[in-house]
Protein backbone atom coordinates (compact mmCIF):
# COMPACT_ATOMS: atom_id res chain seq x y z
CA UNK A 1 0.00 0.00 0.00
CA UNK A 2 1.27 3.42 -0.89
CA UNK A 3 -0.29 5.29 2.04
CA UNK A 4 2.25 4.11 4.70
CA UNK A 5 5.07 5.11 2.34
CA UNK A 6 3.52 8.55 1.81
CA UNK A 7 2.98 8.95 5.56
CA UNK A 8 6.65 8.30 6.28
CA UNK A 9 7.88 10.51 3.45
CA UNK A 10 5.48 13.32 4.31
CA UNK A 11 6.44 13.19 7.99
CA UNK A 12 10.08 13.92 7.18
CA UNK A 13 9.54 16.16 4.17
CA UNK A 14 10.40 19.29 6.16
CA UNK A 15 13.29 17.86 8.09
CA UNK A 16 14.10 20.89 10.24
CA UNK A 17 10.49 21.52 11.25
CA UNK A 18 9.80 17.85 11.92
CA UNK A 19 13.10 17.52 13.78
CA UNK A 20 12.32 20.49 16.03
CA UNK A 21 8.80 19.21 16.63
CA UNK A 22 10.13 15.77 17.59
CA UNK A 23 12.67 17.40 19.88
CA UNK A 24 9.95 19.50 21.54
CA UNK A 25 7.80 16.41 22.06
CA UNK A 26 10.79 14.50 23.44
CA UNK A 27 11.55 17.24 25.97
CA UNK A 28 7.89 17.45 26.98
CA UNK A 29 7.66 13.65 27.36
CA UNK A 30 10.87 13.74 29.40
CA UNK A 31 9.40 16.41 31.67
CA UNK A 32 6.15 14.47 31.92
CA UNK A 33 8.03 11.27 32.84
CA UNK A 34 10.12 13.02 35.49
CA UNK A 35 7.11 14.74 37.04
CA UNK A 36 5.20 11.46 37.12
CA UNK A 37 8.23 9.80 38.68
CA UNK A 38 8.31 12.47 41.37
CA UNK A 39 4.68 11.64 42.13
CA UNK A 40 5.27 7.86 42.18
CA UNK A 41 8.36 8.41 44.33
CA UNK A 42 6.25 10.47 46.68
CA UNK A 43 3.91 7.53 47.10
CA UNK A 44 6.64 4.89 47.03
CA UNK A 45 6.52 4.40 50.79
CA UNK A 46 2.84 3.59 50.46
CA UNK A 47 3.52 1.17 47.63
CA UNK A 48 6.16 -0.81 49.46
CA UNK A 49 4.51 -0.65 52.89
CA UNK A 50 3.61 -3.98 54.40
CA UNK A 51 0.01 -4.88 55.11
CA UNK A 52 1.13 -6.87 58.13
CA UNK A 53 2.89 -3.96 59.88
CA UNK A 54 1.20 -1.43 62.13
CA UNK A 55 2.45 1.86 63.53
CA UNK A 56 1.34 3.08 66.96
CA UNK A 57 1.86 6.71 67.89
CA UNK A 58 0.47 9.25 70.32
CA UNK A 59 -3.18 9.94 69.45
CA UNK A 60 -2.71 13.70 69.89
CA UNK A 61 0.28 14.14 67.58
CA UNK A 62 3.48 12.54 66.40
CA UNK A 63 5.46 15.09 68.37
CA UNK A 64 4.17 13.69 71.68
CA UNK A 65 5.94 10.51 72.82
CA UNK A 66 4.59 7.26 74.26
CA UNK A 67 5.91 5.52 77.38
CA UNK A 68 8.32 2.65 76.84
CA UNK A 69 6.16 0.81 79.35
CA UNK A 70 3.58 0.20 76.59
CA UNK A 71 6.02 -2.21 74.92
CA UNK A 72 5.16 -5.26 77.03
CA UNK A 73 1.45 -4.65 76.84
CA UNK A 74 1.56 -4.30 73.06
CA UNK A 75 3.85 -7.33 72.75
CA UNK A 76 1.34 -9.51 74.55
CA UNK A 77 -1.68 -8.36 72.56
CA UNK A 78 -3.32 -11.18 70.67
CA UNK A 79 -2.21 -11.29 67.02
CA UNK A 80 1.04 -9.39 67.61
CA UNK A 81 4.12 -11.23 66.33
CA UNK A 82 6.88 -8.72 66.94
CA UNK A 83 7.31 -5.18 68.28
CA UNK A 84 10.03 -2.61 67.85
CA UNK A 85 10.12 1.06 68.65
CA UNK A 86 12.00 4.16 67.71
CA UNK A 87 12.45 7.92 67.81
CA UNK A 88 13.02 10.41 65.05
CA UNK A 89 16.41 11.97 65.84
CA UNK A 90 16.61 14.80 63.31
CA UNK A 91 20.42 15.10 63.49
CA UNK A 92 22.51 17.17 61.07
CA UNK A 93 25.69 15.88 59.49
CA UNK A 94 28.16 18.80 59.18
CA UNK A 95 25.63 21.06 57.42
CA UNK A 96 21.86 21.18 56.96
CA UNK A 97 22.22 20.67 53.23
CA UNK A 98 23.44 17.12 53.92
CA UNK A 99 19.95 16.05 54.86
CA UNK A 100 19.15 12.37 55.36
CA UNK A 101 16.67 10.46 57.52
CA UNK A 102 18.16 9.42 60.88
CA UNK A 103 16.43 7.72 63.76
CA UNK A 104 16.98 5.49 66.75
CA UNK A 105 15.38 2.03 66.89
CA UNK A 106 15.36 -1.04 69.02
CA UNK A 107 17.59 -2.96 66.56
CA UNK A 108 16.89 -6.69 66.83
CA UNK A 109 13.16 -6.72 66.31
CA UNK A 110 13.42 -3.82 63.88
CA UNK A 111 15.60 -5.78 61.47
CA UNK A 112 13.25 -8.77 61.83
CA UNK A 113 10.27 -6.57 61.07
CA UNK A 114 11.93 -5.01 58.02
CA UNK A 115 13.44 -7.89 56.04
CA UNK A 116 13.77 -5.57 53.03
CA UNK A 117 16.76 -4.05 54.86
CA UNK A 118 19.48 -6.56 54.03
CA UNK A 119 22.58 -6.55 56.26
CA UNK A 120 25.41 -9.11 56.27
CA UNK A 121 25.29 -11.34 59.39
CA UNK A 122 28.72 -10.27 60.69
CA UNK A 123 27.80 -6.60 60.39
CA UNK A 124 24.47 -7.25 62.07
CA UNK A 125 26.32 -8.89 64.97
CA UNK A 126 28.66 -5.90 65.21
CA UNK A 127 25.70 -3.53 65.24
CA UNK A 128 24.06 -5.51 68.04
CA UNK A 129 27.33 -5.59 69.98
CA UNK A 130 28.26 -1.91 69.83
CA UNK A 131 25.79 0.41 71.55
CA UNK A 132 27.25 3.39 69.68
CA UNK A 133 26.99 1.55 66.40
CA UNK A 134 24.83 2.56 63.47
CA UNK A 135 23.98 1.17 60.09
CA UNK A 136 23.75 3.23 56.93
CA UNK A 137 22.17 2.59 53.57
CA UNK A 138 24.52 1.83 50.68
CA UNK A 139 23.77 5.11 48.88
CA UNK A 140 24.28 7.18 52.03
CA UNK A 141 27.66 5.54 52.77
CA UNK A 142 28.73 6.08 49.16
CA UNK A 143 27.56 9.70 49.24
CA UNK A 144 29.81 10.59 52.17
CA UNK A 145 32.54 8.01 51.59
CA UNK A 146 31.95 6.24 54.92
CA UNK A 147 33.61 2.93 55.66
CA UNK A 148 32.99 0.37 58.38
CA UNK A 149 34.51 1.54 61.63
CA UNK A 150 34.33 5.23 60.75
CA UNK A 151 33.13 7.56 63.47
CA UNK A 152 30.36 9.86 62.30
CA UNK A 153 29.17 12.83 64.35
CA UNK A 154 25.64 14.17 64.11
CA UNK A 155 24.57 17.46 65.63
CA UNK A 156 21.31 16.91 67.50
CA UNK A 157 18.36 19.22 66.97
CA UNK A 158 15.67 17.54 69.06
CA UNK A 159 18.37 16.19 71.36
CA UNK A 160 21.04 18.93 71.41
CA UNK A 161 24.74 18.20 71.42
CA UNK A 162 27.24 16.36 69.24
CA UNK A 163 26.55 12.65 69.00
CA UNK A 164 29.27 10.24 67.90
CA UNK A 165 28.36 6.99 66.16
CA UNK A 166 30.46 4.15 64.74
CA UNK A 167 29.52 2.68 61.37
CA UNK A 168 28.97 -1.03 61.97
CA UNK A 169 27.00 -2.01 58.93
CA UNK A 170 26.07 -0.94 55.42
CA UNK A 171 22.73 -2.31 54.28
CA UNK A 172 21.28 -2.61 50.84
CA UNK A 173 17.66 -2.89 49.78
CA UNK A 174 16.03 -6.21 48.97
CA UNK A 175 14.70 -4.52 45.82
CA UNK A 176 15.35 -1.26 44.01
CA UNK A 177 12.47 0.56 45.70
CA UNK A 178 13.96 0.30 49.19
CA UNK A 179 15.39 3.54 50.57
CA UNK A 180 19.17 3.13 50.87
CA UNK A 181 19.84 6.55 52.38
CA UNK A 182 18.79 5.98 55.99
CA UNK A 183 20.92 6.34 59.10
CA UNK A 184 19.73 3.93 61.80
CA UNK A 185 21.26 3.75 65.27
CA UNK A 186 20.40 2.12 68.56
CA UNK A 187 17.60 3.44 70.71
CA UNK A 188 19.27 2.26 73.97
CA UNK A 189 22.23 4.56 73.17
CA UNK A 190 19.88 7.49 72.71
CA UNK A 191 17.99 6.65 75.92
CA UNK A 192 21.20 6.27 77.91
CA UNK A 193 22.37 9.78 77.04
CA UNK A 194 18.88 11.27 77.42
CA UNK A 195 18.63 9.76 80.91
CA UNK A 196 21.72 11.71 81.89
CA UNK A 197 21.02 15.02 80.20
CA UNK A 198 17.21 15.23 79.93
CA UNK A 199 15.86 12.75 82.48
CA UNK A 200 12.26 13.80 81.86
CA UNK A 201 12.57 12.65 78.24
CA UNK A 202 13.96 9.21 79.12
CA UNK A 203 12.08 5.97 78.48
CA UNK A 204 9.87 7.67 75.92
CA UNK A 205 9.48 6.44 72.35
CA UNK A 206 8.17 8.27 69.32
CA UNK A 207 6.42 5.30 67.76
CA UNK A 208 5.98 1.57 67.95
CA UNK A 209 6.38 -0.66 64.91
CA UNK A 210 4.28 -3.79 65.21
CA UNK A 211 4.28 -6.97 63.14
CA UNK A 212 1.03 -8.94 63.18
CA UNK A 213 0.74 -12.69 62.70
CA UNK A 214 -1.78 -12.30 59.90
CA UNK A 215 -2.47 -9.18 57.85
CA UNK A 216 -6.21 -9.87 58.08
CA UNK A 217 -5.95 -9.26 61.82
CA UNK A 218 -4.46 -5.76 61.40
CA UNK A 219 -7.71 -3.88 62.01
CA UNK A 220 -8.59 -5.94 65.09
CA UNK A 221 -5.10 -5.66 66.57
CA UNK A 222 -5.04 -1.87 66.00
CA UNK A 223 -8.42 -1.54 67.63
CA UNK A 224 -7.37 -3.65 70.61
CA UNK A 225 -4.15 -1.71 71.20
CA UNK A 226 -5.90 1.66 71.09
CA UNK A 227 -8.64 0.36 73.40
CA UNK A 228 -5.99 -0.81 75.85
CA UNK A 229 -4.65 2.73 76.32
CA UNK A 230 -7.97 4.52 76.17
CA UNK A 231 -8.30 7.20 78.86
CA UNK A 232 -4.59 6.92 79.73
CA UNK A 233 -2.37 10.07 79.80
CA UNK A 234 -0.95 8.98 76.45
CA UNK A 235 -3.71 7.58 74.29
CA UNK A 236 -2.55 5.81 71.14
CA UNK A 237 -3.47 5.85 67.50
CA UNK A 238 -2.63 2.62 65.71
CA UNK A 239 -2.88 2.35 61.97
CA UNK A 240 -1.43 0.33 59.15
CA UNK A 241 1.94 1.38 57.86
CA UNK A 242 0.22 2.48 54.63
CA UNK A 243 -2.26 4.72 56.47
CA UNK A 244 0.57 6.12 58.59
CA UNK A 245 2.61 7.07 55.51
CA UNK A 246 -0.45 8.44 53.73
CA UNK A 247 -1.00 10.65 56.75
CA UNK A 248 2.43 12.19 56.15
CA UNK A 249 1.83 12.53 52.43
CA UNK A 250 -1.50 14.27 52.97
CA UNK A 251 0.45 17.13 54.56
CA UNK A 252 2.12 17.69 51.18
CA UNK A 253 -0.93 16.91 49.06
CA UNK A 254 -1.04 20.45 47.67
CA UNK A 255 2.48 20.06 46.24
CA UNK A 256 1.58 16.72 44.67
CA UNK A 257 -1.56 18.28 43.18
CA UNK A 258 0.50 21.09 41.66
CA UNK A 259 2.92 18.57 40.17
CA UNK A 260 0.00 16.61 38.73
CA UNK A 261 -1.42 19.77 37.15
CA UNK A 262 1.97 20.75 35.72
CA UNK A 263 2.36 17.27 34.20
CA UNK A 264 -1.02 17.71 32.48
CA UNK A 265 0.01 21.17 31.30
CA UNK A 266 3.05 19.53 29.70
CA UNK A 267 0.69 17.28 27.71
CA UNK A 268 -1.27 20.33 26.57
CA UNK A 269 2.02 21.93 25.46
CA UNK A 270 2.87 18.87 23.37
CA UNK A 271 -0.62 19.00 21.88
CA UNK A 272 -0.15 22.65 20.93
CA UNK A 273 3.25 21.96 19.34
CA UNK A 274 2.06 19.01 17.27
CA UNK A 275 -1.23 20.69 16.36
CA UNK A 276 0.72 23.71 15.10
CA UNK A 277 2.99 21.51 12.98
CA UNK A 278 0.05 19.55 11.56
CA UNK A 279 -1.90 22.74 10.82
CA UNK A 280 1.06 24.17 8.88
CA UNK A 281 1.63 20.87 7.11
CA UNK A 282 -1.99 20.49 6.06
CA UNK A 283 -2.26 24.09 4.90
CA UNK A 284 0.79 23.58 2.68
CA UNK A 285 -0.56 20.36 1.23
CA UNK A 286 -4.19 21.22 0.58
CA UNK A 287 -3.38 21.27 -3.14
CA UNK A 288 -1.94 17.77 -2.96
CA UNK A 289 -4.95 16.53 -1.04
CA UNK A 290 -7.17 18.07 -3.74
CA UNK A 291 -5.16 16.20 -6.38
CA UNK A 292 -5.56 12.93 -4.47
CA UNK A 293 -9.29 13.56 -4.18
CA UNK A 294 -9.43 14.29 -7.89
CA UNK A 295 -7.75 10.97 -8.64
CA UNK A 296 -10.39 9.25 -6.51
CA UNK A 297 -8.87 8.99 -3.02
CA UNK A 298 -11.55 9.08 -0.35
CA UNK A 299 -11.85 11.26 2.73
CA UNK A 300 -10.96 8.25 4.88
CA UNK A 301 -7.72 7.76 2.95
CA UNK A 302 -6.82 11.43 3.36
CA UNK A 303 -7.59 11.14 7.08
CA UNK A 304 -5.26 8.13 7.26
CA UNK A 305 -2.49 10.18 5.65
CA UNK A 306 -2.82 13.10 8.06
CA UNK A 307 -3.49 11.10 11.23
CA UNK A 308 -0.68 8.71 10.29
CA UNK A 309 1.78 11.56 9.83
CA UNK A 310 0.76 13.09 13.14
CA UNK A 311 1.19 9.76 14.93
CA UNK A 312 4.59 9.10 13.31
CA UNK A 313 5.89 12.50 14.49
CA UNK A 314 4.36 12.14 17.94
CA UNK A 315 5.64 8.61 18.48
CA UNK A 316 9.12 9.52 17.24
CA UNK A 317 9.16 12.28 19.88
CA UNK A 318 7.66 10.01 22.53
CA UNK A 319 10.23 7.26 21.95
CA UNK A 320 13.07 9.78 22.00
CA UNK A 321 11.64 11.24 25.24
CA UNK A 322 11.45 7.77 26.80
CA UNK A 323 15.02 7.01 25.72
CA UNK A 324 16.20 10.28 27.29
CA UNK A 325 14.31 9.54 30.50
CA UNK A 326 16.70 6.75 31.56
CA UNK A 327 19.94 8.78 31.72
CA UNK A 328 18.21 11.91 33.02
CA UNK A 329 16.41 9.96 35.78
CA UNK A 330 19.75 8.42 36.73
CA UNK A 331 21.29 11.88 36.93
CA UNK A 332 18.34 13.11 39.02
CA UNK A 333 18.70 10.12 41.29
CA UNK A 334 22.32 10.92 42.04
CA UNK A 335 21.93 14.72 42.15
CA UNK A 336 18.79 14.78 44.30
CA UNK A 337 19.41 11.67 46.35
CA UNK A 338 18.85 13.60 49.59
CA UNK A 339 15.31 14.53 48.61
CA UNK A 340 14.41 11.48 46.54
CA UNK A 341 16.22 8.48 48.07
CA UNK A 342 14.64 6.27 45.43
CA UNK A 343 14.02 7.73 41.97
CA UNK A 344 13.07 4.88 39.69
CA UNK A 345 10.91 5.43 36.63
CA UNK A 346 7.98 3.02 36.91
CA UNK A 347 6.98 0.95 33.84
CA UNK A 348 3.49 2.47 34.14
CA UNK A 349 5.05 5.90 33.46
CA UNK A 350 6.18 4.68 30.04
CA UNK A 351 2.69 3.37 29.36
CA UNK A 352 1.33 6.83 30.25
CA UNK A 353 3.94 8.37 27.90
CA UNK A 354 2.78 6.18 25.02
CA UNK A 355 -0.88 6.80 25.82
CA UNK A 356 -0.23 10.56 25.96
CA UNK A 357 1.62 10.36 22.63
CA UNK A 358 -1.27 8.48 21.05
CA UNK A 359 -3.92 10.88 22.33
CA UNK A 360 -1.87 13.92 21.28
CA UNK A 361 -1.18 12.41 17.85
CA UNK A 362 -4.89 11.88 17.21
CA UNK A 363 -6.12 15.12 18.79
CA UNK A 364 -3.57 17.31 16.99
CA UNK A 365 -4.64 15.95 13.61
CA UNK A 366 -8.39 16.24 14.06
CA UNK A 367 -8.88 19.82 12.84
CA UNK A 368 -6.37 19.57 9.95
CA UNK A 369 -7.99 16.29 8.87
CA UNK A 370 -11.43 17.86 8.90
CA UNK A 371 -10.07 20.79 6.89
CA UNK A 372 -8.47 18.51 4.28
CA UNK A 373 -11.56 16.35 3.91
CA UNK A 374 -13.90 19.31 3.69
CA UNK A 375 -12.00 21.33 1.09
CA UNK A 376 -13.63 21.49 -2.33
CA UNK A 377 -11.37 20.07 -5.04
CA UNK A 378 -11.65 23.14 -7.25
CA UNK A 379 -10.72 25.33 -4.27
CA UNK A 380 -7.76 23.09 -3.38
CA UNK A 381 -6.47 23.08 -6.96
CA UNK A 382 -6.65 26.87 -7.11
CA UNK A 383 -4.21 27.02 -4.19
CA UNK A 384 -1.59 25.29 -6.33
CA UNK A 385 -1.91 27.74 -9.20
Amino acid sequence: MILPKMIMKNAFRRKVRTGLTILAIAIAILAFSLLRTVITTWYLGVEISSASRLITRNAVSMIFPLPLAYYDKIRHTSGVREVSYGNWFGGIYISEKNFFANFAVEPKNYLDLYPEIVLPENQKAEFFRDRRGFIAGRKLAERFGWHLGDIVTLKGTIYPGNWDFVLRGIYHGRDKNVDETQFIFRWDYLNEIVKKIYPSMANQVGFYMIGVTDSHLSADVAHEIDAMFKNSPAETLTETEKAFILGFISMTEAIVTVIRIVSLVVIVIILAVVANTMAMTTRERLGEYAVLKTIGYSGLQLATLILGESLVITFAGTLLGIALTFPVAKFFSSALGAYFPVFNVAPSTFLFDILAGFIVGIAAALIPTRQAIAIRIAEGLRRIG
Partner: protein, 229 residues
Protein backbone atom coordinates in the same frame (compact mmCIF):
# COMPACT_ATOMS: atom_id res chain seq x y z
CA UNK B 1 -17.94 2.02 -20.34
CA UNK B 2 -18.11 0.39 -23.78
CA UNK B 3 -19.57 2.18 -26.73
CA UNK B 4 -19.15 2.59 -30.42
CA UNK B 5 -16.83 5.16 -31.87
CA UNK B 6 -19.56 7.59 -32.82
CA UNK B 7 -21.61 7.32 -29.61
CA UNK B 8 -21.95 10.38 -27.45
CA UNK B 9 -19.77 10.06 -24.37
CA UNK B 10 -20.71 13.34 -22.71
CA UNK B 11 -24.22 14.81 -22.76
CA UNK B 12 -24.55 18.23 -21.18
CA UNK B 13 -28.08 19.52 -20.80
CA UNK B 14 -29.09 23.01 -19.64
CA UNK B 15 -26.22 23.31 -17.21
CA UNK B 16 -25.93 26.49 -15.19
CA UNK B 17 -23.36 27.29 -12.55
CA UNK B 18 -22.75 30.35 -10.47
CA UNK B 19 -20.46 31.24 -7.57
CA UNK B 20 -21.37 33.23 -4.53
CA UNK B 21 -19.03 36.04 -3.50
CA UNK B 22 -20.39 37.42 -0.25
CA UNK B 23 -23.84 38.77 -1.07
CA UNK B 24 -23.23 38.66 -4.81
CA UNK B 25 -24.10 35.73 -7.07
CA UNK B 26 -21.73 35.52 -10.00
CA UNK B 27 -23.10 33.50 -12.93
CA UNK B 28 -20.31 31.51 -14.61
CA UNK B 29 -22.18 29.14 -16.96
CA UNK B 30 -25.65 29.80 -18.31
CA UNK B 31 -27.87 27.10 -19.76
CA UNK B 32 -25.10 25.19 -21.52
CA UNK B 33 -26.16 22.29 -23.73
CA UNK B 34 -23.85 20.27 -25.93
CA UNK B 35 -22.51 16.76 -26.59
CA UNK B 36 -19.05 15.31 -26.93
CA UNK B 37 -18.60 12.27 -29.12
CA UNK B 38 -16.56 9.25 -28.10
CA UNK B 39 -12.98 9.60 -29.39
CA UNK B 40 -13.33 13.36 -29.80
CA UNK B 41 -10.44 15.76 -29.15
CA UNK B 42 -12.20 18.95 -28.13
CA UNK B 43 -10.54 22.25 -27.29
CA UNK B 44 -12.49 24.82 -25.30
CA UNK B 45 -11.14 28.32 -25.63
CA UNK B 46 -12.17 31.59 -24.19
CA UNK B 47 -10.93 34.57 -22.21
CA UNK B 48 -10.21 34.41 -18.49
CA UNK B 49 -13.39 34.18 -16.47
CA UNK B 50 -15.40 32.79 -19.37
CA UNK B 51 -16.18 29.62 -17.39
CA UNK B 52 -14.12 27.11 -19.37
CA UNK B 53 -12.28 25.62 -16.37
CA UNK B 54 -15.58 25.46 -14.46
CA UNK B 55 -17.13 23.55 -17.34
CA UNK B 56 -14.14 21.16 -17.39
CA UNK B 57 -14.50 20.58 -13.64
CA UNK B 58 -18.19 19.83 -14.06
CA UNK B 59 -17.52 17.31 -16.85
CA UNK B 60 -14.84 15.68 -14.67
CA UNK B 61 -17.13 15.45 -11.65
CA UNK B 62 -15.03 17.61 -9.34
CA UNK B 63 -17.63 20.37 -9.06
CA UNK B 64 -21.43 20.42 -8.89
CA UNK B 65 -23.95 22.03 -11.24
CA UNK B 66 -26.57 24.43 -9.95
CA UNK B 67 -29.06 23.08 -12.48
CA UNK B 68 -29.11 20.82 -15.51
CA UNK B 69 -27.53 17.43 -16.00
CA UNK B 70 -24.28 15.92 -17.19
CA UNK B 71 -24.23 12.33 -18.37
CA UNK B 72 -20.81 10.79 -18.97
CA UNK B 73 -20.66 7.32 -20.49
CA UNK B 74 -24.30 6.77 -19.62
CA UNK B 75 -23.88 7.77 -15.95
CA UNK B 76 -25.69 10.87 -14.74
CA UNK B 77 -22.87 12.24 -12.61
CA UNK B 78 -24.94 15.14 -11.29
CA UNK B 79 -26.98 12.65 -9.24
CA UNK B 80 -23.97 10.99 -7.58
CA UNK B 81 -22.96 11.57 -3.98
CA UNK B 82 -19.45 12.78 -3.11
CA UNK B 83 -18.27 9.23 -2.34
CA UNK B 84 -19.84 7.82 -5.51
CA UNK B 85 -18.25 10.62 -7.53
CA UNK B 86 -14.82 9.81 -6.08
CA UNK B 87 -15.22 6.17 -7.13
CA UNK B 88 -16.49 7.21 -10.53
CA UNK B 89 -13.55 9.54 -11.11
CA UNK B 90 -11.09 6.84 -10.02
CA UNK B 91 -12.21 4.57 -12.85
CA UNK B 92 -13.39 6.88 -15.60
CA UNK B 93 -11.52 10.18 -15.78
CA UNK B 94 -7.89 11.10 -16.21
CA UNK B 95 -6.76 14.60 -15.26
CA UNK B 96 -3.97 16.69 -16.70
CA UNK B 97 -3.33 19.94 -14.85
CA UNK B 98 -1.50 23.09 -15.85
CA UNK B 99 0.99 22.77 -12.98
CA UNK B 100 1.39 18.95 -13.30
CA UNK B 101 0.46 18.43 -9.63
CA UNK B 102 2.72 15.47 -9.04
CA UNK B 103 3.29 14.40 -5.45
CA UNK B 104 6.83 15.62 -4.74
CA UNK B 105 7.76 12.86 -2.28
CA UNK B 106 6.93 10.10 -4.76
CA UNK B 107 9.03 9.02 -7.75
CA UNK B 108 7.73 9.19 -11.30
CA UNK B 109 6.88 5.50 -11.02
CA UNK B 110 5.03 5.97 -7.74
CA UNK B 111 3.13 8.99 -9.05
CA UNK B 112 1.87 7.02 -12.03
CA UNK B 113 1.12 4.07 -9.75
CA UNK B 114 -1.00 6.28 -7.45
CA UNK B 115 -4.40 5.85 -9.20
CA UNK B 116 -3.81 2.11 -9.64
CA UNK B 117 -3.83 1.62 -5.85
CA UNK B 118 -7.56 2.31 -6.04
CA UNK B 119 -8.06 -0.64 -8.39
CA UNK B 120 -8.05 -4.38 -7.74
CA UNK B 121 -4.89 -4.92 -9.80
CA UNK B 122 -2.09 -7.00 -8.31
CA UNK B 123 1.34 -5.52 -7.65
CA UNK B 124 2.74 -7.19 -10.77
CA UNK B 125 -0.15 -5.99 -12.92
CA UNK B 126 0.26 -2.48 -11.57
CA UNK B 127 3.96 -2.52 -12.39
CA UNK B 128 3.20 -3.63 -15.97
CA UNK B 129 0.64 -0.84 -16.39
CA UNK B 130 2.97 1.82 -14.97
CA UNK B 131 5.92 0.74 -17.09
CA UNK B 132 3.72 0.69 -20.18
CA UNK B 133 2.44 4.19 -19.44
CA UNK B 134 5.92 5.57 -18.75
CA UNK B 135 7.19 3.92 -21.91
CA UNK B 136 4.41 5.61 -23.85
CA UNK B 137 5.52 9.03 -22.57
CA UNK B 138 9.16 8.12 -23.16
CA UNK B 139 10.20 8.33 -19.51
CA UNK B 140 10.78 4.72 -18.55
CA UNK B 141 14.44 5.47 -17.89
CA UNK B 142 13.44 8.27 -15.47
CA UNK B 143 10.94 6.26 -13.43
CA UNK B 144 13.01 6.43 -10.23
CA UNK B 145 13.39 10.20 -10.42
CA UNK B 146 11.45 12.53 -8.18
CA UNK B 147 9.45 15.40 -9.71
CA UNK B 148 12.08 17.86 -8.52
CA UNK B 149 14.64 16.03 -10.64
CA UNK B 150 12.57 16.35 -13.83
CA UNK B 151 12.04 19.29 -16.19
CA UNK B 152 8.61 20.88 -16.53
CA UNK B 153 7.94 19.03 -19.77
CA UNK B 154 8.98 15.73 -18.25
CA UNK B 155 6.80 16.34 -15.21
CA UNK B 156 3.82 17.03 -17.46
CA UNK B 157 4.49 13.80 -19.37
CA UNK B 158 4.53 11.91 -16.05
CA UNK B 159 1.24 13.61 -15.19
CA UNK B 160 -0.18 12.49 -18.54
CA UNK B 161 0.98 8.92 -17.84
CA UNK B 162 -0.76 9.13 -14.46
CA UNK B 163 -3.92 10.35 -16.20
CA UNK B 164 -4.21 7.52 -18.72
CA UNK B 165 -2.70 4.63 -16.74
CA UNK B 166 -6.14 3.63 -15.47
CA UNK B 167 -7.38 3.50 -19.08
CA UNK B 168 -10.09 6.13 -18.57
CA UNK B 169 -12.78 6.78 -21.15
CA UNK B 170 -12.15 10.50 -21.02
CA UNK B 171 -9.12 12.70 -20.39
CA UNK B 172 -9.59 16.27 -19.25
CA UNK B 173 -6.75 18.75 -19.52
CA UNK B 174 -6.76 22.24 -18.05
CA UNK B 175 -4.18 24.42 -19.81
CA UNK B 176 -1.77 21.46 -20.17
CA UNK B 177 0.85 23.56 -21.95
CA UNK B 178 0.31 26.75 -19.99
CA UNK B 179 3.44 26.33 -17.90
CA UNK B 180 5.73 24.89 -20.57
CA UNK B 181 8.21 26.23 -23.10
CA UNK B 182 7.40 25.82 -26.78
CA UNK B 183 9.40 22.61 -27.26
CA UNK B 184 7.95 20.90 -24.19
CA UNK B 185 4.47 22.12 -25.10
CA UNK B 186 4.85 20.58 -28.53
CA UNK B 187 5.95 17.25 -27.00
CA UNK B 188 2.94 17.24 -24.69
CA UNK B 189 0.50 18.10 -27.49
CA UNK B 190 1.98 15.40 -29.70
CA UNK B 191 1.58 12.93 -26.88
CA UNK B 192 -2.05 13.91 -26.35
CA UNK B 193 -2.63 13.58 -30.07
CA UNK B 194 -1.20 10.04 -29.97
CA UNK B 195 -3.42 9.15 -27.01
CA UNK B 196 -6.41 10.32 -28.99
CA UNK B 197 -5.47 8.70 -32.29
CA UNK B 198 -3.76 5.51 -31.16
CA UNK B 199 -5.68 4.71 -27.99
CA UNK B 200 -8.96 6.38 -28.93
CA UNK B 201 -9.09 8.50 -25.79
CA UNK B 202 -11.69 11.23 -25.67
CA UNK B 203 -9.91 14.44 -24.71
CA UNK B 204 -11.41 17.68 -23.51
CA UNK B 205 -8.79 20.41 -23.27
CA UNK B 206 -9.15 23.94 -21.99
CA UNK B 207 -6.56 26.31 -23.39
CA UNK B 208 -5.73 29.91 -24.14
CA UNK B 209 -3.15 28.90 -26.68
CA UNK B 210 -4.44 28.87 -30.31
CA UNK B 211 -1.46 26.72 -31.31
CA UNK B 212 -2.43 24.09 -28.75
CA UNK B 213 -6.05 24.27 -29.85
CA UNK B 214 -5.02 23.50 -33.43
CA UNK B 215 -4.22 19.93 -32.35
CA UNK B 216 -7.90 19.39 -31.47
CA UNK B 217 -10.49 18.15 -33.92
CA UNK B 218 -13.02 20.61 -32.66
CA UNK B 219 -12.66 24.02 -31.05
CA UNK B 220 -15.48 25.70 -29.14
CA UNK B 221 -15.36 29.21 -27.81
CA UNK B 222 -16.88 30.08 -24.49
CA UNK B 223 -17.61 33.65 -23.57
CA UNK B 224 -19.37 34.93 -20.47
CA UNK B 225 -20.71 31.47 -19.71
CA UNK B 226 -22.22 30.68 -23.10
CA UNK B 227 -20.83 29.09 -26.26
CA UNK B 228 -20.40 31.30 -29.29
CA UNK B 229 -22.38 29.78 -32.09
Amino acid sequence: MSMDKMDTIVEIRNVSKSYRRGDHVLPVLTDITFDIAYGEFLAIMGPSGSGKSTLLNLIAGIDHVDSGSIVVGGEDITSLSETELAKWRAGNVGFIFQFYNLIPVLTAFENVDLPLHLTALSRTQRREHVEMALNMVNLLDRMDHYPGQLSGGEQQRVAIARAFVIDPAILVADEPTGDLDRKSAEDVLTLMDRLNKELGKTIVMVTHDPHAAEKAHLIRHLEKGVFNS
